[in-house]
Amino acid sequence: MSVAAAAPIKSVDALKAAPEDYQLAVRKIIRSHAVNELYGARVYDEPAIALAPTPYLKWLTCRIAMEEYGHHVRFRQLGEQMGIPEAELTPEGRKPLSIFEFPLKTWEEFCVVKLLADLAEIIQVEDLMKCSFLPLRNLAKMTMPEEIFHSQFGKDTCTELVKTAEGRKKVQAAIDHYFPMMPAFFGKKDSANNALYRKYGIKQRTNEDMRADFLTRVRNLVEGHLKLKLPEVAEAA
């Protein structure tokens, strides 16, 4: 029987009585979110302030960077309450996702990153909104409205950019560059970690299921809404 089926775990204190592998699974998720939220703010959101084409968009990007940093702070605080060493909650102590290894060069790239990566993040956070560890479920609920706004920002800005021929070309180039990295964001097929997360109700869906959901939603956005082309990629990581 899974922990989720038995009873949700209501607090950090209650977590101490959970099976060891449940505790390890929760730690892995929190570390990953804390590290990647901070690294994303550093390599995408902060540099994008200089690239934004108007003061309005510069200040909006400034706020988005603060919100992404704020998500890091919330995950880090939960991690610290659980006794995760501080060094493991920052990119200096843990390897971030590979998508962050490609530095931002243009405003169009930033808008596409928000369009693609924040949608991927929403799908991950949606899953955590039913998490059996309630502090993590509550954190997911808190961050979700801002994640939705960031993803909508990506859609809105890309919608504006594709109104010109030059903008279409740049947005398509950014999609061609960043989209192939996205399927890996959801983890490996038949992942042992994911099986553990589902066993305990920490996550609800397989990596493959979330990846397929992402591909459907992103295809609707890119091909249905923006009328651009989504590059072919291997769907299984």
């Binding site: 108007t54 510069k58 400034c62 706020r63």
Partner: protein, 189 residues
């Protein structure tokens, strides 16, 4: 603390702590759209002069929609934005030389975390004006947070180069939103 006497560092960080504690207490955006007082006009003129830019007219902005339109106009002054960025970099270098990079960044992080509440203050201002616009609340909150960051840099650098940000922050502290130089005019909402 690199190269700075203990007492001087204590004084600077105490000043910064007072500044941070003041942030939630100020009337953010409360005077947005109000007539500009002589004091507000003087602050705007000092801001432009301290950035090393040519004098320009200072103009009020009537409402939130007009403020959003001005902030999106294509004829915004790149010289203004670059002058701010250059001042920020100079102050950052000086602050890091005075106290060390890590303490400087830690102090600026405290400022950013405190300034996160300013989106809510902007949303309150929008609500009072009967405007429902989440993006604009975030834009205004981002601008106000940037001003807090810049003023904190000025305080920690302890240099005359921070005067521009002092004048800009005074406008925010009085409830206005300085929108910068657009089309040759310094707009203050």
């Amino acid at each position: 603390m690199s190269g700075t006497p203990r007492g001087e560092a204590d004084e600077a960080f105490a000043q910064l702590a007072a500044f941070i504690s003041e942030i939630p207490m100020l009337p953010w955006f409360a005077a947005a759209g109000a007539t500009l007082t002589p004091s507000a006009i003087a602050d705007a003129e000092s801001y432009v002069a301290a950035l090393g830019l040519a004098p320009c007219p200072v103009a009020p902005v009537a409402g939130w929609r007009a403020a959003a339109d001005i902030a999106q106009r294509p004829d915004w002054s790149r010289d203004w934005w670059h002058a701010e960025s250059a001042h920020e970099k100079a102050l950052h270098r000086r602050g890091a030389a005075r106290f060390g990079l890590a303490p400087l960044l830690a102090a600026l992080t405290d400022v950013t975390e405190t300034a996160a509440v300013l989106r809510d203050r902007a949303a309150d201002g929008l609500g009072r004006a009967g405007v429902d616009d989440e993006a604009l609340a975030k834009v205004a909150g981002g601008a106000a947070a940037q001003a807090c960051h810049q003023q904190a840099l000025a305080l920690l650098a302890g240099s005359d180069a921070g005067r521009a940000f002092g004048a800009k922050y005074a406008l925010f502290a009085a409830g206005h939103w300085p929108l910068g130089i657009v089309g040759g005019t310094c707009f203050v909402f």
